[in-house]
Symmetry: C2
Subunit: 510 residues, 2 copies
Amino acid sequence: MSDKDLLKQNAESIERWGMFEVSLCGKTAGNPFTDYTIHGVFKHKNETVEADGFYDGDGVYKVRFMPSFEGEYTFEITGSFADFSDGPPSGSFTATPPGENNHGPVRVANTYHFAYEDNTPYFPIGTTCYGWTHQDDALCEETLKTLKNSSFNKIRFCIFPKHYIYNLHDPKTFPYEGKPCVCDSSVPTEDTSFWKGNDWDFSRPNPAHFQRIENYVAQLMEMGIECDIIVMHPYDRWGFKNMGTKADDLYWAYVVNRLSAYRNVWWSLANEYNLMPEKSPEDWERYGSIICRLDPYKHLCSVHNGGPEYDASKPWISHVSYQGDVVHTNGLREKYKKPVVLDEICYEGNIWPGWGNIDGQELVRRFWEAMCRGGYPGHGETYIQPTQFGERLWWSHGGKLLGESEKRIRFLLEIMAQTPGGGLRHREAWERIAVPESADHAGSYIIVYLDIRQPANYFFYFDNETAYRVEIIDTWDMTIEDAGVHKGKMHIKLPSKRYIAVRFIKASDK
Amino acid sequence: MSDKDLLKQNAESIERWGMFEVSLCGKTAGNPFTDYTIHGVFKHKNETVEADGFYDGDGVYKVRFMPSFEGEYTFEITGSFADFSDGPPSGSFTATPPGENNHGPVRVANTYHFAYEDNTPYFPIGTTCYGWTHQDDALCEETLKTLKNSSFNKIRFCIFPKHYIYNLHDPKTFPYEGKPCVCDSSVPTEDTSFWKGNDWDFSRPNPAHFQRIENYVAQLMEMGIECDIIVMHPYDRWGFKNMGTKADDLYWAYVVNRLSAYRNVWWSLANEYNLMPEKSPEDWERYGSIICRLDPYKHLCSVHNGGPEYDASKPWISHVSYQGDVVHTNGLREKYKKPVVLDEICYEGNIWPGWGNIDGQELVRRFWEAMCRGGYPGHGETYIQPTQFGERLWWSHGGKLLGESEKRIRFLLEIMAQTPGGGLRHREAWERIAVPESADHAGSYIIVYLDIRQPANYFFYFDNETAYRVEIIDTWDMTIEDAGVHKGKMHIKLPSKRYIAVRFIKASDK
């Protein structure tokens, strides 16, 4: 057959930062996942990008690419996956201007903050649904619907299925060919004898598992939601956390080659890396190096902790992904000079574990504190919802949101988005005072978050000259009251209740 | 005149631990406060106590004494205050059994806790009214009435008047003969030029000032309320914090000689000692030594901080009087091996300073946390109350209580009083778990305070054998619900709301 017949493109033209994909038929003898290579070179007048491809099952090999510029691209596919009589298969496509919701991948901006590649500021307000892609289709659809109607612009989830309390059932698909141990949900989480019935071929990923995840990544991309993809995690009865170096490296390459052309991908090397004694410090660094080598787009990348944080000073780590008390935000910013994303600050819910039973008011309080400290807090919900599939929790399975925090988080995000210069930093005081990170906006904008304190009056002084429009923000009732224009020694009357913030916005000159 | 005519007793018989007083006329030439001595020796078959007296004005000298035993006492008065032709004046009285509300002075018990001298456990739950005795009589009477109807069994207040925000008026009486600077309440607290108009004779205390305070100490004694008397403090425009060594020592002797015979007296050397740069470490130790020398009853004694705590390992300090976060309770207990009284953990109120604007729920939460950590929390209230005397705050002036915490504190105190063995200690966990300090009661009683967490279920395991009566305590709504008898792996259903505690009481054997 001719090379032209061999090759299929997913489109003749694609948006800048869209996902362009070339599919080609190739060899099936032996193990196509390990025995053959596939590689693409994508050329534009401004860039030449090399990307490895992957085997997608049924004799089909794929190479994916995300164009960073508008205009004409040509490409050539090489590798041992097929023998080419006419030379390497090649083709071209046009990268068109991005659509309305497409601002490119998210990048670090102004040291501690984020912006999309088109410079639109991005304020990450994420949620966590570890295993949502592993659930039945109907539940996944419900989760997507919930996310679409929510304020969240980021979601954390796992590629590997998760074995943990409230989530002991098998996933919809498995990441490898083979057979799982028989699930006995009465066996406690810690019992590793569980693993004994597993029979996997770690050299043969299951394309259906990854197609399923990709499908959701693509849908979230259309919805403007970033995917903080947790590539490894400790909660496992199937042996995926303990596959050995060779299988780990194959897995990392497979994941990165499949997913990095989606602009909304972030790499989270692990959830709670330090709870995986199977992994050495060198392992984590090696995984990081695989990402650096194979991800041409340099997606955001971090390692989430469940105890001492990972050393985020490593150059390949773009930001701190932190589990812990929001009070540490300032210290982490100072220590690493990188953005601090607080991916676990306890979840709104009422389950017994201490990480999952704060109420909506406390979660929203932590969000505001984190924001005022110049960090980016994350949501999760652990109310048990009875569903047709049994008891489900948003945190693990997705589904519906039952809590009270989400709409207040939307309100907060709207306020965050009004920050001049793209991000806040903290000014220490009894109250939480946040000011713009950018020196260009010094004195122009001040948020005072009074937390659980309930003063009847607030006194503030900036200077004798600058007039401020003052607003009283009820962060729980979601109201913004205009308290007039003040200057000099300002005296603001407050309603003597919890969760009030005061905002000072420099009044424009007349 | 004969010595018998010279001498008056306040009673022929007095309760054990009551205040016995001998008054004698004496010399008035020169300065009776400094030029003469007066001294008493009180004898019982079980004790001989020596006590210095003091000059009370108008030619009257007094010696006071607290009998620690029942039965017959004799006494003899000596000193240069008068010339005796018939030898030293003497007399006798009977110490009768204590009345119902009289359990003697409070002592440290079981290292970290307190008991009255008759071994009745005492759980200090105090409030703070720094300047209440310096107000007009009507307001003082209202404060006494409020205290009488409250649950507080301890109160912190100052001998010296206090000059601080919300409290800039002159006191009803001054502690010395002389004249104060003209009060200008518009001058800021920090402005020491204030002091310049003061004209005091620091060698001549004003008996009326001390009589006034004593009168209230005596009334509080009848009400069963301990007086944590703050002898020095930083908030001053009259120069009392800066009188010099000689005047300081005279003051300390005068205070101790006047007050130590009241069983309900505790010595607080200072409020916020570290905010008094006028005092050296040696000064505080010298004040401590004066107390040790002159207080025959060894009343409880501590130094309150407003920053780093005083070194409570000093042998003359009976307990830690701490201002700060209740989270430090455990550490302070371990460090000093003494009881920890948390005398300032922010006040319920709505004034602008951060130390005075938490709400009742938060204060009660801190009380419960402190209790579960094995410490003793203190109350204060900073809502502004309009009165006939102007704006008043309980924390400074007394008056009425407007807050929501006091009745919940009463509820807590009732629960504290049920602790087997007289005190709790902390067992670390996500939740606050408190158990009896006494090893004799190990496993008999467990309080789990869930704080702001709202689990729908609580799982607890002690052992397979012990049956517990389980109670669900709503610490805010003040209800105790019987959740039945459980043992082994206990599963307790909870109401999914904040401020719940679960109590496990060993069920009696059938």
